[in-house]
Amino acid sequence: MAGFRLQYLIPVAVFLLLAGVFGAYLMEIGRGKDIAALPSALIEKQAPTFALPAIDGDGPGFSTADLAGKVALVNVWASWCPPCRAEQPVLMRLKAEGVPIYGINYKDKAADARAMLAELGNPFAKIGADSTGRVAIDWGVYGYPETFVVDRTGRVRYRHVGPIMPEDVDRIFHPLLKRLGG
């Protein structure tokens, strides 16, 4: 070909590179990845130490000791948080499958929290009331709901930001719980 130079391929190569990067990201999003969700600083680290009172304020609530020796979910929720209400049926389904789920009730009113559980069901083995939000900060929570998977040794293995959608159960939770032997 007359006048053809190799440099003419540079823009084409740049285009193909960018298209490849964007395409790979779009594929990830298509598979259900939330690219806005931040990675947790607690992954592969020991779950924070805490002891929260029950929602009513009396009696034992939920503390680190409850997580000992089991694969469990820790769900941070509030009755004022619509996505938390939306994911409640999914949590009920996981509970029915025998997955132990523990709740951290974030900055909620006891009456509102109880009303939500009465309406949508209570998937939690134990619930701690985090009225100041201080324990949620120890877990690195920045949006609600958030769900953590803790393994038998008490280490945090996964953090899910936002509501657990039904497809997330098959895509993420079932394989992970199976791998951890839950």
Partner: protein, 210 residues
């Protein structure tokens, strides 16, 4: 200057889940001071002009006050520490920590609920005697490096820090190659063809003959 209204909007816009932003609850958003609009200059004489000057000065003073208020961020009076030295340290620490709800504001600037909680926590740690680095390490242990508005230089952030200098270097190298080639072409023009040589010889012969 970041206005109160913007703050609220950003908080609610960037909250995909049920985050408690400052959008509607508005815990700490202060009304920006109103700037008096300057009147048209009076057509008759000095009196009007003097009045206009005073009003302009007042407007400038109000604007400056607004800028000063914006500098103080979203920190509420009841959050501040009594000891001004400790409070100053807490503000310096807070300005380096990202509010994870709004993500492009520091916790000192953000009206979000979580930012308020973190401001209080930073002040507790400072009062308890932690150094600035200890307080920042405390927050990073919970929220990760992303919470730092000035990210550290480490393998995971090499691409972030080095990408723009690399692109700049590539551009400079490209320009250098282009200039070099152009000057080389200008310095050595292509040799004349046989036809051109013949035409020049013919012209010289004609000059000599006349």
């Amino acid at each position: 200057m970041r206005l109160a209204v913007e703050r609220g909007n950003f908080a609610s816009l960037s909250a995909p889940w049920g985050r408690r932003g400052s959008g509607s609850g508005g815990e700490s958003v202060a009304e920006p001071p109103r700037v008096p609009s300057s009147p048209r200059p009076s057509p008759n004489g000095r009196k009007g002009r003097a009045k206009c000057g005073r009003l302009a000065a007042a407007a400038v003073a109000t604007l400056l006050a607004a800028f000063a208020a914006a500098g103080a961020g979203a920190v509420e009076p009841n959050e501040m520490l009594k000891d001004p030295a400790l409070e100053a340290r807490a503000q310096i620490i807070g300005e380096s920590l990202r509010c994870l709800v709004c993500q492009n504001q520091s916790i000192e600037d953000s009206g979000a609920d979580l930012a308020h909680d973190l401001r209080v926590l930073v002040r507790q740690r400072v009062t308890a005697g932690d150094s600035n680095d200890q307080v920042i390490a405390f927050v990073v242990a919970r929220y990760g490096d992303f919470v730092l508005l000035d990210p550290p230089f480490k393998p995971a952030t090499w691409a972030l820090w080095l990408a723009s200098p690399a692109v700049l270097l590539l551009g400079v190298a490209g320009l250098a190659v282009w200039f070099r080639r152009r000057s080389r072409l200008a310095a050595a023009p292509p040799p004349l063809s046989a036809d051109e040589e013949r035409r020049i010889a013919a012209l010289i012969d004609r000059e000599a003959g006349s």
